[in-house]
């Protein structure tokens, strides 16, 4: 039993907005007030929020680890020695697994989702997450360039097609022990493997002639058929291209009425100048989001400094390598997807980067409903997650924001609107975009709030005028009712839960199977045998299965 008294509580889901309230945790969960004595924390003068939830981050698995190997220069100056309860680690933008857990916990985050895992490499991601302490985790399973899905989409009979997709997607999720369907540049990655060009929504992609639009509408429908807890998690076509707003809006129109999460939307909200340069299209995108409560998004906010870009969008990464001349790693994951890695630095003096920085903040300020947008940096693509406190200050403090705009490329005002935006986030709104909102978007009823039954995860902050300072160093971080961080130092280390979705229609995760035809394809074309495909339960010793439906 742990009692936290006298704190000023922000619990937006339960309508509590800065009220003094005592909280009780027992058996790892919040409970109703009880008399029983126990350990008590006096949080007088402090602010309390639920544990943070990161809806989109790249922290574990094949491409993250390849990036660690590719970029030792990321690690040399960023190291932490082993201490009483914590192991050593290194890395600034691609920290080692233990360090990733400690740093997330140190910021008050207790739940993190790894955003892009090919089913064939899911076992690797789960192994790394086992070594990422103090946070509950889950993975999104990549499906937008999966050969078997594209083949299934050839079926002309709509009812049959829908049924095949239901079983195929169930099987992919259950095999990979995934939480959500992830789609990255649908069709575009496969097209690149054929050395064909970039794809628009209706470009037929070899070898089956299936288009991005077909993949998207089918998977959005399947996501709903399977009653999955999270929306379709979508990285749309043409990431990073000036003018991609056309594709993004067209995709949004196509998927209107469906539950879709548009990830790192900053990278997809680009207008184009007559000379082909970048200008902000955040107002158009925000307007669309404001009219469509069925959609959620995350920001993918740029942070100036070094980053390591990594994505399943291999054509985009090749393009980035060609335009920057920076080193490049690329991987082909058989029938499923590809991936690419390019280290990079965003500079305030570079007009393109400065505009990207403004566009992310514009989305955060122009999308009116904070439940529809989540704070992310698409770690480590747009910036490291350790920059979240800095972004919170940019959102809460317009004077500070304007002072940073002064340091950007002088022409940035011609192409962006940020300097005209006066909005400042409240603490309640910050609590929504960093914990309650993502928990709701993920369908996690036990996360992102402090009501009875919720996971006993909370953060105690010392109020500070400088919101970056306040959010960078919580006084206490509590997970499952255990004090994991006190005054910035991890006090204990243990493994978190692995969150796995059980698609509607399956009795358990071992229940999914392939149709005979697709099983034959698997046997013919995968380089491993079908019985070795599914991630064994040994890899998830603390699994929490979220039933759907």
């Amino acid at each position: 039993m742990l009692k936290i008294i006298n704190g000023q509580v922000y619990d937006p889901k339960n309508g509590i907005n800065g009220v003094s309230k005592d909280l009780y945790i027992d058996g790892g969960r919040f409970v109703q007030p009880v008399q029983e004595a126990g350990e008590t924390i006096d949080a007088g003068g402090c602010i309390i929020m639920p544990g943070g939830v990161d809806i989109h981050s790249h922290i574990a698995g094949a491409k993250v680890n390849s990036a660690r190997i590719m970029c030792p220069e990321d690690h040399y100056d960023h190291f932490r020695a082993a201490a009483d309860c914590t192991r050593s680690g290194v890395g600034h933008t691609i920290p080692t697994t233990f360090l990733t857990g400690y740093e997330y916990a140190g910021l008050g985050y207790t739940t993190v989702f790894e955003a892009a895992v090919p089913p064939l490499e899911a076992r690797h991601a789960h192994e790394e997450l086992e070594d990422t302490p103090l946070v509950d985790t889950g993975i999104y399973t990549l499906m937008g360039n999966n050969t078997m899905i594209m083949k299934a989409l050839q079926e002309k009979d709509a009812a049959k097609r829908r049924e095949t997709l239901r079983s195929l997607v169930s099987w992919l999720l259950a095999s990979s022990k995934g939480y959500a369907i992830k789609v990255v540049n649908p069709g575009g990655v496969e097209s690149w493997k054929w050395s064909a060009g970039t794809v628009d929504l209706d470009t037929p992609v070899q070898p089956f002639g299936i288009s991005s639009r077909q993949i998207l509408t089918a998977l959005a429908e399947t996501n709903e058929d399977l009653k999955l807890p999270h929306a379709l998690h979508l990285h749309t076509n043409h990431l990073g291209d000036p003018g991609n707003v056309r594709t993004t809006l067209e995709t949004m129109k196509t998927l209107t009425g469906h539950r879709v999460h548009f990830t790192h939307l900053q990278f997809h909200s680009y207008g184009i100048t007559p000379k082909g340069g970048l200008k902000s299209a955040a107002p158009e995108i925000a307007e669309f989001m404001n009219a469509h409560p069925e959609f959620t998004c995350d920001a993918g906010q740029i942070v100036f400094g070094p980053v390591t870009t990594m994505t399943a969008d291999s054509p985009m990464q090749f393009h980035l390598h060609e335009t920057t001349g920076n080193k490049w790693g690329s991987f082909d994951v058989e029938m499923e997807t590809g991936s690419g890695i390019v280290p990079l630095r965003y500079r305030p003096s570079v007009l393109f980067n400065a505009s990207q920085w403004c566009i992310g903040l514009e989305l955060l300020l122009l999308i009116k409903n904070p439940w529809q947008i989540v704070l992310t940096t698409d770690h480590p693509n747009a910036g490291p997650f350790t920059a979240y406190p800095q972004i919170i200050r940019l959102l809460m403090d317009a004077d500070y924001r304007n002072s940073v705009i002064e340091t950007l490329h002088p022409k940035v005002g011609h192409y962006t609107h940020l300097k005209d935006l006066k909005r400042e986030y409240t603490l309640e709104e910050i609590a929504i975009i960093t914990r309650s909102g993502p928990a709701k978007a993920l369908g996690l009823s036990n996360k992102g709030h402090l009501g009875p039954g919720a996971d006993g995860d909370l953060v105690i902050y010392q109020p500070h005028k400088d919101k970056e300072k306040m959010f960078a160093s919580p006084v206490y971080v509590i997970k499952d009712g255990r004090i994991i961080v006190r005054d910035g130092i991890a006090r204990q280390s243990f493994g978190g839960k692995r969150l796995v979705a059980l698609p509607y229609g399956l009795k358990d995760l071992a229940d999914g199977s392939l149709s005979q035809e697709l099983a034959q394809d698997f046997a013919d074309y995968y380089s491993i045998s079908l019985r070795n495909f599914a991630v064994q339960y040994d890899y998830l010793p603390r699994m929490e299965v979220i039933s759907c439906g």
């Binding site: 574990a60 660690r68 192994e127 790394e128 050395s195 090749f318 013919d524 070795n532």
Partner: protein
Amino acid sequence: MRHLKRYSALAKGLYTPEGRKDRKVVVIDVRPSPTSKNADIFLQVTPGADFEIVHVLRLLIAGKRLEGLEEESLVGGVAFRQWQELAELMKACRYGVVMFGIGLTQSRGKDLNAEELNSLIIELNAFTRFYAVAMRGHGNVNGSNQVLAWQTGYPLAVNFQRGYPRFNPGEFSVVDMLRRKEADAALIIATDPSAHLPQSAVNYLKSIPTIYLEPHENATTTWANVVIPVAPAGIGAGGTFYRMDNIPLQLKKLVDFAVPSDLEALQGIKEEVLRLKRGEAAC
């Protein structure tokens, strides 16, 4: 040969339904081998010319004119004309993979050869899809690279002397550490140093306390101070195997052995060390 059959040459794919017939196999080696007998093109090169060969291919792919090289001039012991043909073949193919091994990485030029080859692969991607796969020696070498990378940031040659991981191949790699006589004890797992290390390194190991986890009797078990017999991985103990292309597979235990696995032996040692140190720190 299993690799040729299962993956690289004979396998039938969705886009290569005829298997071997749909592929062109080129072997570059210093001598004929069973692999070269199965090749469409075999280029027998002179030893030590790897960097020069790859560099010439890069220049050809980039469309540079090579002054002073005639069709029949020899580059690495093979006519320049044949390299021109190979460069055209690489540019024109739909999908290419270069597999390379210690012939390239341990001969004259070493890491520079590998870097030059990677540059070639990157530049070929302006024309078509091309990949390189490093064919590493031992069983689960990639597994050890992967785990070290996610836990320490570096795949090999990691030094914990200062309490955090540092990386410098050539300084912290095992042969160098032993040559400088820096190690004062050794714990060896899953390799036979007598068979794989230079004699001087083995001699130094013999002079310090050496603990050896090993399933079989071999040259090292005859002199190691402590030999802990362990169950052979993949037969008597399960675990994850990382294939050379990073695909992770679970290996299951097939047979019971009367001895512990590597994991159990190490856990036992760790617990005992902690018991001896108890009182210092416990979480």
